[in-house]
Amino acid sequence: MPKNIGFISTRFAGTDGVSLESAKWAEVLWDDRHVSYWYSGRSDREPGISYVVPEAYFGHPEIEWINERIWGRTSREPLVTTRIREMTDYLKTSLYHFVKKFQIDFIIPQNVLTIPMHLPLGLAVTEFLAETGMPAIAHHHDFFWERTRFSVNGVGDYLDSAFPPSLNNIRSVVINRPAEEQIALRKGLASLLIPNVFDFDKPAPQPDEYSADVREEIGLKPDDVFILQPTRIVPRKGIEHAIKMVGMLKDPRYKLVISHDAGDEGLDYLHMLNELAKEENVDVRFIADRVSEVRQYDSLGRKMYTLWDLYPHADFVTYPSTYEGFGNALLETVYFRKPMMVNRYSIYIQDIEPRGFRFAEMDGIVTKKVVAHVQRILEDSHYRDEMVEHNYRVARRFYSYTVLRRSLRTLMTSLTGWGNGG
């Protein structure tokens, strides 16, 4: 019997991993006629199925006020506790409203019981679930112990109780094996591993009229080789390795194009990359001002493209991250049947590599061997085609909606006894 599912997050907007994966889950649940409703502080979902509580966004000024007073220090002031409690009560009330309004049967907290970007929301969801006993699948993307910025804090008591909580009506889903181990070790909680997925049964979109001119609009000549770094400019993305690699290819036709902007974690890294590009004589294009979450025109009347408008035009993708929770860009690259250089980050080694993908792999440093492999991929079209087709087949087997559907059905049945379709 179809159920009403309530997704909960601080935001459902844009192309962050949580927003994207949540939409995929909803799509798969919809196949079983379950209807999804969205509770968040920011939302680009349809207003008719959204419940937006501005205070639920981690960037809400009150939450920023709280965050400034709980992280990087080992105790908290009574006023801060009071404000946390106030906000928790308020959000909990709004959760009751949400559930009542849409007759929600089942809750899927998306990362809100995992990373304490919004402490009161985590507490509110925990209390709500404890009070109502409503079945829930907590989808965990990043735990607080995975981020150093949360390691010194004055809210250990709250983290212990709610990130994640231990309640009979909650099942935990993690996206990688180390997380599965850590949640068991630290919290004594069993979890199910559901990796990030893609709809590999549906082929990737091709350039259309709107995006046909991407290459020329970003200033590439017909002979240029478009090497895409599809990430934000933050240190853990290891972009210096991409520059190094392109430099070692020693061919002016190779252009490294970085799609997103810097600034989230300061501009030092961007400056460093610029310096390095000069030293290595690499032509790096920063095109964040032409990339948007949706297709639109900027104030100069220029077209803005989505990341999905860029992928089909790319000749090669670099992904030299030093750490990723899973690595959505990796699946996207495979989905668009593009070749890729990847750094062997820990989750990649444990979860993804064993599936048998074929990439140009680097192990912390760009060696001549790596560059030679990239060169072969770029120059040998037969080798390249075989490689991307192989990767697509692997991904379809392990990271498709079918995998997700199977796991979600199992979870829901185990929690509620509803069973398939009834």
């Binding site: 920011r42 501005p54 009150e62």
Partner: protein
């Protein structure tokens, strides 16, 4: 839950929310209840309030970067300048919008919660607040098209996707009153296609949709944030336009008044010391409607004063000023006027409606044009245009081409008159400096308002102010001195009483008496270019029994002998009877 809200306060808030948002009120009250205490504001019950204001209260209206010097943030430079030159003369610094902005010299706000990096930091603002009271703008009618809110609107991200007013361009909006000739609707491309958004002032200043309760709460949050940063006077910019209702003129809607009342209620709950100042540059009766029943603005700009005073001094005819002042009703309770002659905007002439005959109005326009004014015009419903605002510095508006001394006397007379009136004086930075028209600025920006928006290099300004026997420096010295002296006279308490007398054609007398009735100052003004003598006791009964007076302005003692008291052209005196 936070303690200090009484049931009565909460009920009042609930009534207002119901009036504005109907059935959603109960939920919004809950949300409101949780808001109180945000940023630590209103956590404790308010202390018993002292008097809201006294004779020491004088506002300085200034841009954050009015004075700048190398190696220092302009806010810090402003602080240093004010501390050195203005301590004791002004009590409050009204920093015009110092948030990141994209046009209109600050009134197109990109982020209400940040200090524009080029100006300084919140710490600079808070430090200024240690030496002066602070006044900030709450620009609530519109925000920048470059704001994150408007970007969310374009991308369809809630809650801000509902913060703006989308209109079908075919809608009949002919009844809408506005002070601009630019299109009311601006075409924008959004994620969902083409959209037309309401833009009262300019395409870059997109009107906000107050019918959306999330927007109200956004602003309540900003209000509490500003209070946590030390604001004491909150200026509600262009508030009259806030609530739009198709089919009406969209001006002064009852809901707009209710919003002001609600903001005042919130201030009373969290910090009763905070004053609400409404900015509504409209005809007098409409302007003062923002006093409500003593439950809206604490302070309202006295918008008719600048142009009427200008007219009186440029025509040597104070009839209309006298008539207006004789009929001016003063609000009761904790409400008063903000008496000013100039601000960062031009001199609005719409408030003259009904106060000045057309012939006199034309005379005024000609007189200021002769002195270099730009006259901004507004579109009328019949397609014609009429003067809306005079763009000129107040000092230049009263200048005399061939007689600098006379011009200075006339200008100071205007300033002292404004300082004498019942209410709180507000002095624009360029009035204090008697800055002449900044024509280069107009040339540079193409905006007529730049004429009165010069920014000073600190060294350059100090040089101007230090100059010996220079009219600008003399004016500044005298002005500041008089401000400091005024602060010692409780007769100038905004709540003190005021009587008005007219002696002959050109002499006005304001009798100001302290709230306790124990001090009276006779403020005498000569509005003509000829000397005037107050001779016979019949001229002015209150003065007849007093033989000697102390003139606060000149710091001289005068005798009321047979020849009476003679005022030079445009002289002002503040006479305190001597035993």
């Amino acid at each position: 839950m936070i303690k200090p809200i009484s049931q009565a306060q909460l009920d009042r808030v609930r009534r207002r929310l119901r009036f504005l948002y109907g059935e959603r009120a109960n939920w919004l009250v809950d949300r409101f209840y949780h808001l109180i205490g945000r940023y630590g504001v209103g956590m404790e019950p308010p202390a018993t309030s002292a008097r809201r204001w006294d004779q020491k209260d004088v506002l300085l209206i200034t841009y954050a970067d009015m004075v700048h010097t190398k190696g220092e943030t302009p806010l810090k430079t402003l602080h240093g300048f004010a501390l050195e030159h203005l301590k004791g003369a002004v009590s409050t610094v009204h920093i015009l919008p110092f948030y990141p902005w994209s046009s209109d010299d600050g009134f197109s706000v990109i982020d209400y919660r940040q200090v524009k990096r080029e100006y300084g930091t919140w710490s600079d603002v808070e430090k200024l607040g240690e030496d002066f009271n602070l006044a900030f703008d709450l620009v609530l009618n519109h925000c920048s098209a470059k704001s994150a809110w408007f970007q969310d609107f374009i991308l369809g991200i809630s809650p801000a996707r509902h913060y703006f007013l989308e209109m079908d361009p075919k809608t009949d909006l002919s009844a809408v009153v506005r002070p601009r000739t630019s299109p009311l609707l601006t075409k924008t491309t959004t994620r969902f296609g083409e959209s037309h958004v309401w833009t009262t002032f300019s395409a870059d200043q997109v009107d906000l949709n107050w019918q959306n309760s999330d927007l109200l709460f956004e602003f309540l949050d900003i209000l509490l944030f500003y209070i946590s940063k030390g604001v004491r006077t909150l200026r509600l910019d262009a508030v009259a336009f806030a609530w739009k209702e198709i089919g009406t003129d969209c001006l002064h809607r009852p809901q707009t008044h209710e919003i002001v009342k609600l903001l005042r209620d919130v201030c009373e709950i969290v910090d009763p010391q905070v004053n609400i100042l409404t900015e509504t540059n409209v005809p007098h009766a409409e302007n003062i409607s923002y006093f409500g029943e003593g439950d809206e603005a604490h302070v309202v700009y006295n918008f008719s004063l600048p142009p009427l005073l200008l007219h009186a001094l440029l025509t040597d005819n104070c009839d209309y000023l006298y008539d207006w002042l004789s009929n001016l009703e003063y609000p009761e309770g904790a409400c008063t006027y903000l008496n000013f002659t100039a601000s960062h905007d031009g001199i609005g002439v719409r408030p003259l409606q009904g106060l000045l005959p057309d012939k006199e109005f034309d005379k005024l326009i000609k007189a200021v044009e002769k002195r270099g004014a730009h006259v901004s015009r507004k579109a009328n419903p019949d397609g014609s245009q009429s003067p809306y605002e005079l763009n000129i510095t107040y000092a230049s508006a009263l200048s005399e081409a061939d007689d600098a001394k006379l011009g200075t006397a006339r200008f100071l007379c205007s300033q002292y008159f404004a300082l004498s009136l019942k209410g709180i004086p507000a002095v624009y930075f360029h009035s204090l400096m008697a800055t002449p028209n900044y024509d280069e600025g107009v040339e540079k920006t193409g905006a007529p308002r730049s004429i009165n928006r010069r920014k000073w290099d600190l060294d350059e300004l100090e040089e101007v102010l230090d100059a010996k026997k220079a009219p600008q420096a003399d004016t500044f010295r005298q002005y500041v001195q008089v401000l400091r002296r005024r602060a010692n006279y409780p007769a100038f308490n905004p709540d003190g009483s005021q009587e008005l007398y007219r002696l002959g054609e050109s002499v006005l007398v304001l009798v100001r008496t302290s709230t306790l009735g124990n001090q009276t100052v006779y403020c005498v003004f000569n509005f003509s270019s000829e000397p005037q003598t107050v001779t016979r006791p019949a001229d002015f009964a209150p003065l007849k029994d007093t033989k000697k007076f102390y003139d606060v302005i000149s710091a001289k003692t005068l005798s009321n002998g047979k020849r009476g008291i003679t005022l030079k052209p445009y002289q002002a005196m503040w006479l305190v009877p001597r035993a």
